[in-house]
């Protein structure tokens, strides 16, 4: 079953301060994602990877093309803001590279909040949050501290834990392991594999080739805002060896 069909997606930015200059973010990008699939989006910096993810989450408003989310039939490129809000609450999760949270909320509560919003009792949600933070090797003494004071890698782990906690049907990850050292990255990859099951489909932007090899089922490569290819991870990895 197909979960997501992206068809001829265009995104340009009109930068008024630069004499109405147009910057192309995405140019006619098409692909599909199967249910339960883990799609890695790869490409050089500036190739459009994050723009693609932000269009899927509607943080960016696409200019043309469609994004069909099959479970509800909505076109994420054009549906109303209220529909986007409802889908974000129930179906679609997103983790940016950087934690963006209200100050003065302890790490454990940052992670527990989406679980509580799903209806879990406060203490159960916290318990699950602690398990996730523990699985990501975040030192226990930090769980009740405020992430504002954390290092980049520590914040990124809180961010990742918060995003995967509610097991959304579609999870968008924007370089979720970019600030992690190799050991912690391995723990994060492990957790993605064990905590998430076939009910979660992932579209993730990754820079690290090893990570792609370990987590992805298929790979979408972008260059200069365009799709280069969409291949299985075996084919992607195979070419490197050859």
């Amino acid at each position: 079953m197909t979960l997501l069909t992206v068809d001829s997606l265009d995104k340009t930015f009109d930068v008024h301060a630069m004499g109405d200059q147009r910057v192309v973010g995405l140019d006619g990008v098409s692909f599909t994602v199967a249910e339960g699939d883990f799609l890695a989006v790869v490409g050089e910096s500036g190739s459009g990877k994050s723009s693609l993810l932000k269009c899927l989450y509607r943080t960016y408003e696409p200019d043309a093309g469609s994004i069909t989310y099959h479970p509800t039939g909505d076109d994420l490129a054009t549906c109303g803001d209220r529909t986007v809000m409802a889908l974000r609450a129930d179906e679609i999760g997103y983790a940016s590279q950087f934690l963006d949270e209200i100050p003065r909320v302890p790490a454990v509560d940052v992670v527990a909040r989406p679980l509580q919003e799903q209806g879990l009792a406060a203490e159960d949600a916290r318990e699950q949050a602690r398990e996730l933070l523990g699985a990501l090797d975040l030192p226990a003494q930090l769980w009740d501290a405020y992430p504002a004071t954390f290092s980049g890698g520590e914040r990124q782990r809180v961010n990742l834990a918060q995003a995967i906690a509610p097991k959304p049907r579609l999870l968008l990850l924007d370089e979720p392991t970019s600030a992690l050292d190799p050991e912690t990255r391995a723990a994060a990859i492990d957790l993605l594999a064990t905590y998430l099951d076939e009910d979660t489909t992932v579209v993730g932007v990754f820079h690290n080739r090893d990570v792609v090899e370990q987590v992805a089922d298929s790979v979408l490569e972008l260059a200069d805002a365009e799709r280069v290819r969409h291949v299985s991870v075996a084919e992607y990895v195979g070419e490197v060896v050859a």
Partner: protein, 276 residues
């Protein structure tokens, strides 16, 4: 479900000549009518808020945000020429035209306003608890024990120390006064509350605490809110959707993260890029 809806809101101060709105606004680059000198505080502002939703209104000083907030909270000052329509689920007709008694009841029971200036919202010579209790008494609460119990509950929810309940409000810190205002606005379980510049005059550390408290209470009680602020980070933290105003007009509307990361209008781009 649409809870609060506004259509074509307009407030003009002065002696309008009839052409004021045509000669002002974003395109004209001013909100003062060149013909008669009247000031168009807001013009043609339409918006709607669903139950449990938080709507942000951003814009620079003088963009008309507070005028819109006053109209939505049915607390227009009375000096301006007002036009447009405000409707609230469960009530027929335009509430801007409703009689004094109806507006008073709605302000007491269903729409709470947290004023930008604390002195407009609280009587600082009263005790903190008295300020909150006053709202309950206006709503018809009569039993002293019940009122006191409810005020304590609200103090706990907004993290104001309960032991300060009987102290005069002018002995409270700025952050505590703001939280007492929020407690007062929430006292009668309104459907929607309007916050006008909720962090004005507060230290950064206190701002975070007030916003966090508000967000927690807002989610727990699922009360809808309209948050007016010149501070984009306030709106970014609280609002689901955001309206950008300039020279009295709405120039852009959208999901808050979309407004912040993919602003379409030139002015919104300037506003976003001006954040220090």
């Amino acid at each position: 479900m649409t809870l609060l809806e506004a259509d074509g809101l307009e407030t003009i101060y002065g002696d309008p000549c009839g052409n004021c709105t045509a000669h002002t606004g974003d395109r004209a680059g001013t909100n003062q009518c060149p013909e008669c000198g009247s000031v168009v505080a807001c013009s043609d502002v339409s918006l709607d808020v669903e139950s449990g939703e938080v709507l942000g209104i951003v814009g620079e000083s003088g963009s008309g945000k507070s005028s819109v907030a006053e109209l939505l909270a049915l607390e227009a000052s009375g000096d301006g020429h007002v036009d447009g329509e405000v409707s609230l689920d469960g009530h027929d007709g335009n509430l801007l035209d409703a009689d004094y008694q109806t507006r008073h009841e709605i302000r007491t029971d269903e729409i709470g306003l947290v004023h930008q200036h604390i002195r407009d919202g609280l009587d600082l010579s009263f005790t903190g608890g008295g300020n909150v209790a006053e709202k309950l008494l206006a709503a018809g609460w009569r039993h002293f024990g019940d009122v006191r119990e409810r005020v304590k509950e609200l103090y706990a929810a907004t993290e104001v120390p309960v032991e300060r309940l009987d102290d005069p409000t002018d002995t409270y810190s700025g952050g505590m006064q703001r939280r007492v205002q929020i407690a007062r606005a929430l006292a009668t379980d309104p459907e929607v509350i309007v916050l006008d510049e909720p962090t004005t005059g507060l230290d950064v550390s206190v701002q975070a605490r007030v916003l966090d408290t508000f967000r927690q209470v807002q989610r727990e009680q699922n009360v809808a809110a309209v948050v007016v602020s010149h501070d984009l980070s306030v709106v970014r933290l609280l609002a689901d959707r955001t309206i950008v105003m300039r020279h009295g007009e709405v120039i852009e509307t959208g999901l808050t993260d979309r407004i912040m990361e993919d602003p379409q209008e030139a002015y919104t781009q300037t506003l976003i890029n001006s954040v220090i």
